[in-house]
């Protein structure tokens, strides 16, 4: 395949790359989609929650044949200490829609299906190919080079090669991440018969639930754990900032084992069998550490462009939306026959007009604020659980004494003004 020329080369067959390739092929462009795994999905890891809207924009009526696990009807948030927990959740019959708001998926199965859709639209999918450099001419990107030395040319390269985007670094668009800009997630897929899942999680048929867990469960590290229901398996994982793993010297796989033993989780996974263990980077640095999104002849989408909204557990939907917008930018650039940085700058404008950059902008300071005030990760869960304990305990003391104890504890551990300050600074986390 020496010096073959395409309208566009997309690097990485994940949600961003397939969305981009598929959209361009549908518009009649000649597209190559390069994937370093032996098959699409081989290197990809996610929780995984799939949001319908952004996929529907790329594959209408996807739910008719996509490999979906469970339609999410309940979202739960648990705030945990070592031995206690406060549970908040939202469950609604309104979620029983088709398509549902979101579904759990097995990422590898989903990625294979998604890549097939792109191939059916005319995309040339080439698997088992690692791109390790870009080709430049007069400062603009004109193609890519593979580890085997093959050169492929294109009017535009779209980098969708994920959190470890080597080519955006080679293109000079991105420096290396800093440890505080990325989270490391580890996960296990645990086999459990579907009746047990439905009983333990109070689900019917193909309904599913998600559970996010904050507090002591991450042992003071910035991050959270999650437990998602698939048809016949559970996904249990935890993601924490890389600088926290560096600082605490906690081993990620041992952290996961401790989470399995937590009294709130142990019963839910009892008798399950681990099918797979995996790890992945999550580029959580937010808006302020995003690389430039384009240069002459090249666009960045998805994790490669750090499009993650960690406070809302979103990423693959931002990837799909940005992949589609990147494709639309290329389609318009082709009409003008102009692939300069100036022409491709339209991409940024499209992202600014969409939810992608609006959400990224709104949540830009959260991690930094939590980091400056790191103890809130453990103080609040502890305070909340202790207060709940006082509230519910019946031990012969008058209720007014218990209430006083709660107030006193809050004053001693945080102070009312400090609490107001904390909530003000973090209001975007829930907004």
């Amino acid at each position: 395949m020496a010096d073959e020329k395409f309208d566009s080369i997309v690097v990485g067959a994940g949600p961003a790359g397939v969305s981009a390739a598929l959209t361009m092929a549908q518009a009649g462009l000649n597209v190559a989609l390069l994937e370093r795994g032996e098959y699409a999905g081989a290197k990809n890891v996610q929780g995984a929650v799939l949001y319908s809207k952004m996929l529907e924009d790329v594959v209408p009526e996807f739910w008719k044949d996509a490999p979906l696990e469970r339609a999410i009807v309940e979202e739960r948030l648990w705030v945990l200490t070592e031995d206690s927990g406060i549970q908040v959740g939202y469950k609604s019959a309104k979620y029983n829609s088709v398509p549902a708001n979101c579904y759990t998926i097995i990422r590898v199965e989903f990625d294979k299906w998604f890549a097939k859709k792109a191939e059916a639209a005319g995309v040339t999918l080439i698997t088992g190919v690692t791109v390790d450099d870009v080709l430049k001419k007069d400062g603009d990107i004109i193609g890519v080079k593979t580890t085997e030395g093959d050169r492929l040319l294109a009017d535009v390269v779209i980098a969708c090669d994920g959190a470890n985007s080597i080519i955006s670094q080679k293109a000079g668009l991105h420096r290396e991440w800093k440890p505080e800009e990325v989270a490391l997630g580890v996960k296990e897929v645990l086999f459990l018969p579907r009746e047990k899942i439905e009983d333990r999680f109070n689900l019917e048929g193909d309904q599913g639930s998600t559970t996010e867990m904050l507090g002591d469960i991450t042992q003071g590290m910035l991050g959270y754990a999650f437990l998602y229901t698939n048809k016949e398996s559970l996904a249990l994982g935890v993601g924490c900032a890389v600088d926290d793993f560096q600082r605490t010297r906690i081993k990620p796989y041992e952290l996961l084992e401790e989470i399995k033993r937590h009294p709130m989780i142990r019963r839910l996974i009892a008798g399950s069998k681990t099918l797979e263990y995996s790890a992945h980077l999550i580029p959580e640095g937010g808006y302020n550490s995003m690389p430039p999104l384009y240069t002459g002849g090249m666009l960045l989408a998805g994790d490669a462009a750090q499009m993650i909204n960690p406070t809302h557990r979103e990423g693959s939907n931002l990837a799909m939306a940005s992949g589609k917008l990147a494709a639309e930018t290329v389609i318009e650039a082709k009409k003008r026959n102009n692939y300069s940085a100036r022409s491709l700058g339209l991409y940024r404008k499209k992202l600014e007009e969409s939810f992608v950059l609006k959400d990224m902008d709104d949540h830009k300071d959260i991690e930094e604020k939590v980091r400056q005030n790191r103890d809130i990760m453990t103080i609040y869960p502890k305070l909340a659980c202790e207060s709940a304990h006082e509230y519910f305990i019946v031990d012969g003391l008058p209720k007014r004494d218990h209430q006083r104890r709660i107030i006193r504890r809050i004053r001693r551990q945080r102070g009312i003004f400090q609490m107001i300050k904390d909530f003000m600074s973090l209001r975007h986390a829930i907004g």
């Binding site: 032996e38 890891v45 590898v108 190919v129 690692t130 793993f245 010297r249 796989y253 263990y277």
Partner: protein, 99 residues
């Protein structure tokens, strides 16, 4: 009372995975002397696949690149930017079945 789940070792976890091993490494330590002076060796604890192990008699970090599950965290875990991590060559490395 729920049965106490047996802790699962890292070896057991990695044993579930399918790899296609390359004869050449995709991970390089740029300067072995840097590791000698590194007090905490966060690569040895933070790597989710235990790829980096401090060998006390040899006084060096031994890299089992064939166990790598390709998260890429090592590059950021090393406080001295001493780990050069590239994705394995096309088709090599771990292949997830669930992901």
């Amino acid at each position: 009372m729920a049965e106490e789940p047996k802790p699962m070792s890292l070896e057991d976890k990695l044993g579930l995975l399918t790899y296609k091993n390359d004869h050449q490494t995709h991970i390089k330590l740029l300067d072995a002397n840097v590791c000698l002076k590194c007090p905490d060796k966060p690569c040895a604890t933070g790597c989710p696949a235990g790829v980096y192990v401090w060998d006390e008699p040899q006084k060096k970090i031994v890299v089992s690149y064939e166990n790598c599950i390709e998260c890429g965290a090592a590059r950021m875990l090393c406080p001295y930017n001493n780990i050069e991590w590239q994705p394995p060559r096309g088709g090599f490395g771990v292949s997830y079945k669930y992901g």
